[in-house]
């Protein structure tokens, strides 16, 4: 059985889009693009007005809600090790890999330390062999520099990238916001803004010294971006990501103690937000991930300091990334941020649309406007700070391994 997609605007990561493109899917792989003779019995999909781009790869989620992934055009996720129990054992990694198949492939990130405790190295070699694509420090940074250094050295020996959370633990303490105008006005316990760049600077230097590959999962501040930019220029094996929220919201949104805006890392000031947007466009930031971490009402309907951080993000990853890229978003850049770069950095299949690549793709209408509706989200909790926001860019169809796994209104 083959699928023929016609009249699409083909957007490959980092390449000029091609109009009126044809794509032929045969079985689980892409058979041909461009000029080819289509089999007479191929199922035809008229993609007029739609963008065809590789299935999105969400490089950092805390839950892999499959239906929501597919509705958001996501065909692969990198699952954070912060599960219950933490993914610090090969058997747990193997089990995690199976949870989304066949429609969403879950690529587990191995816990860097046992129980994510930040002290003893976990069996990252065995977990790599079990299917882990990288190791991650989890929701928090490893506070002890010596442990972090040894982790980087050890992971480099297995060719594994270390995914870190950039926030100095002792400065962050039990704060829930960034020190500054809003925190002062609201009287909330706040961490100094230097907590992130300090952690970035430390981990970058440690990775450089260890000759290791480092990925900073969520960068949210101008100063951190400067440090990363300089390190990349001198050849450090360094990549970084951010989330749509950190590109679109500043800590002004906390006014009224809206716990849906409580995220990790916390929202920053307006200058930091615009620096994130600039870095997305310039390419200093490699990845946009959703950091999907839905929270129940019990976790959010609390005083701000007591509420849990996190938001649901799968269904809004694509439109919010487009919004962060501006009024006329660079679609090829969006594809790089959402599929090409994650595939390259973590060595995953996908992230490209060419013959013999996996037939993972999404068809979306870049001009379609809709309104975010958290109550319609396809998982347990719909907490998002973007509820009711008008957005552009709507997923019409998601194809995974040659199979149509999501069709809007079907």
């Amino acid at each position: 059985m083959s699928l023929l997609i016609e009249n699409a605007l083909l957007v490959r990561p980092g390449e000029a889009p091609q109009a009126n493109a044809r794509l032929l899917i045969d079985g689980k792989t892409l058979a041909a693009t461009g000029e080819f003779e289509a089999p007479a019995d191929a199922e035809r999909i008229d993609a007029r007005g739609l963008v065809a781009t590789p299935g999105l790869i969400d490089a950092g989620v805390f839950r892999s809600d499959a239906a929501a992934c597919l509705a958001g055009g996501i065909t692969r996720v990198l699952l954070m090790p912060d599960q219950s129990p933490p993914l610090d054992d090969p058997a747990l990694v193997e089990r995690a890999m199976r949870i989304g198949k066949p429609h969403v492939w879950v690529h587990p990130l191995a816990a860097a330390t046992k129980g994510l405790g930040g002290r003893e190295l976990a069996e990252i070699g065995l977990m790599r062999d079990a299917g882990a694509v990288a190791v991650a420090t989890g929701r928090t940074a490893i506070s002890d520099a010596a442990t972090m250094y040894r982790l980087l050295q050890y992971a480099a020996g297995f060719g594994l990238t270390v995914v870190t959370h950039a926030e100095d633990s002792s400065l962050a303490g039990d704060s829930s916001v960034t020190s500054g105008q809003t925190a002062t006005r609201l009287g909330l316990p706040a961490a100094p803004a230097v907590a992130e760049p300090l952690a970035v600077a430390r981990d970058v230097r440690l990775a450089e010294a260890a000759g290791a590959k480092l990925h900073i999962r969520t960068v949210s501040m101008a100063e951190s971006i400067e440090i990363i930019d300089r390190a990349k220029r001198r050849g450090v094996q360094l990549t970084c990501g951010t989330t749509p929220a950190h590109a679109l919201l500043s800590d002004r949104e906390l006014t009224g103690y809206r716990t849906f805006t409580k995220l990790s890392p916390p929202l920053r000031c307006e200058e930091d937000r615009t620096a994130v947007v600039d870095a997305l466009r310039a390419g200093t930031i490699d990845i946009v991930c959703s950091a999907h971490d839905p929270r129940t009402q019990e976790d959010k309907r609390l005083p701000f300091a007591d509420a849990a951080p996190g938001m649901a993000g799968l269904e809004t990853l694509l439109p919010l990334t487009l919004m962060a890229l501006g009024d006329e978003p660079d679609l090829a850049r969006a594809a790089a941020l959402l599929s090409g770069n994650p595939a390259r950095i973590f060595g995953l299949p996908g992230g490209k649309l060419e013959a013999a690549a996996p037939a993972d793709l999404v068809l979306f209408d870049p001009g379609a406007s809709w309104r975010v509706d958290a109550s319609a989200f396809d998982h347990a909790a719909g907490n998002t700070p973007f509820d009711r926001l008008p957005v552009s860019g709507r997923v019409e169809m998601t194809i995974k391994g040659g199979e149509i796994v999501y069709r809007r209104n079907s």
Binding site: G180, Q181, T184, G187, A190, Y257, R301, P303, A305
Partner: protein, 328 residues
């Protein structure tokens, strides 16, 4: 008193003097709304007048729900309610349901189901009182939420200053001590800046929050600078648990550099007024001789004004449910 001499404090024509359902903070109140509450409080600040409107709240139920320990503020609210004739019930919530795992909102719904006519709430988390207020049907008075606001304290401070100085506009006021953790300081910043006072915050660098210019006030780490020509000096209580932590090295060092002594007070105006929200740590933030100086210290007067201010707030906030003309 205020309207004639300070026109910006007069309620504009056609504008309601206090259109709010709750008193959750000073932030966002108009200058004339603050002046209105102060004028109302004036009625009860004279002991002769405490009986004038006695019974205004007769038949109404006032619940004081304190999720954080308090003696002085709680007693002040109890007396204020009782003087107005309300049936006052106080519960130390921290000791009961919260310990059993009940969520804050469940506690709020439980309180609401008892049909109080006014709720007075204190909680250790910033924003918690507003969260409760959004879930209950009656007026809510914030008696302190975390390091956010403590509006009745700022009002009673303002009333005390007005009594002693006749005005707030143009006064130089130094607020000194643990600004970082102080809700009293934040409410006072909003109130005093809104009323046109020249406010300076004085604190050691570790206890000074950033971006105080947003309140329209200045910040200094030097007591001498902050106190220079001050008409009013407000000292804040230093929570001793912070002393042993990493904020400050010791009580004696703090007193040496930030304690309010006679010498230091000499930098202020001759007729300076010394205030403290209590409870005081003598020999830590304030010298005994300064605290007990009856000419300059207004500390006991603040307590008196506290009852008057709380009576005014309880009265004003319940006018709607009592169906007073112009308030329905």
């Amino acid at each position: 008193m205020t309207a004639a001499s300070e026109p910006h404090l007069a309620v504009p024509e056609g504008v309601h003097p206090f259109p709010h359902d709750h008193l959750l903070g000073i932030e966002g109140l108009k200058p004339w709304e603050i002046a209105f509450l102060l004028d109302e409080a004036d009625r009860w600040s004279n002991p002769e007048n405490t009986r004038l409107r006695e019974g205004a709240l007769t038949g109404l139920t006032q619940i004081n729900a304190f999720f954080e320990n308090s003696t002085r503020t709680l007693v002040s609210f109890e007396i204020a309610g009782k003087r107005l004739g309300a049936d006052v019930v106080s519960m130390a919530v921290g000791a009961s349901s919260v310990k059993k795992g009940e969520t804050l909102l469940d506690t709020a719904l439980t309180l609401n189901a008892m049909h109080p006519d006014v709720l007075v709430i204190r909680h250790e988390a910033a924003g918690a009182v507003a969260l409760i207020a959004s879930k209950v049907d009656c007026p809510v008075l914030n008696a302190g939420d975390g390091a956010h606001e403590h509006p009745t304290q700022a009002l009673l401070d303002a009333l005390t200053i007005r009594h002693r100085k006749g005005r707030l506009t143009g006064l130089k006021i130094a607020i000194c001590g643990d600004i970082l953790h102080s809700r009293v300081a934040r409410s006072n910043f909003h109130l005093l800046a809104s009323m046109g006072a020249d406010v300076r915050a004085v604190a050691p660098p570790t206890l000074m929050p950033p971006a105080l210019d947003q309140f329209g006030i200045s910040a200094t780490t030097s007591m001498e600078t902050g106190l220079k020509d001050a008409d009013v000096v407000m000292m804040l209580r230093l929570q001793r648990e912070r002393m042993q932590g990493s904020y400050l090295p010791s009580e004696r060092e703090y007193f040496r550099f930030y304690g309010l002594t006679e010498e230091r007070l000499a930098h202020a105006a001759d007729d300076v007024l010394v205030m403290h929200p209590g409870p005081m740590n003598r020999g830590v933030e304030i010298a005994t001789s300064v605290a007990d100086d009856i000419q300059r210290s207004a500390i006991t007067e603040q307590v008196e004004m506290g009852v008057a201010v709380r009576m005014a707030c309880l009265d004003v906030l319940t006018r709607r449910i009592r169906g007073l003309e112009g308030w329905a």
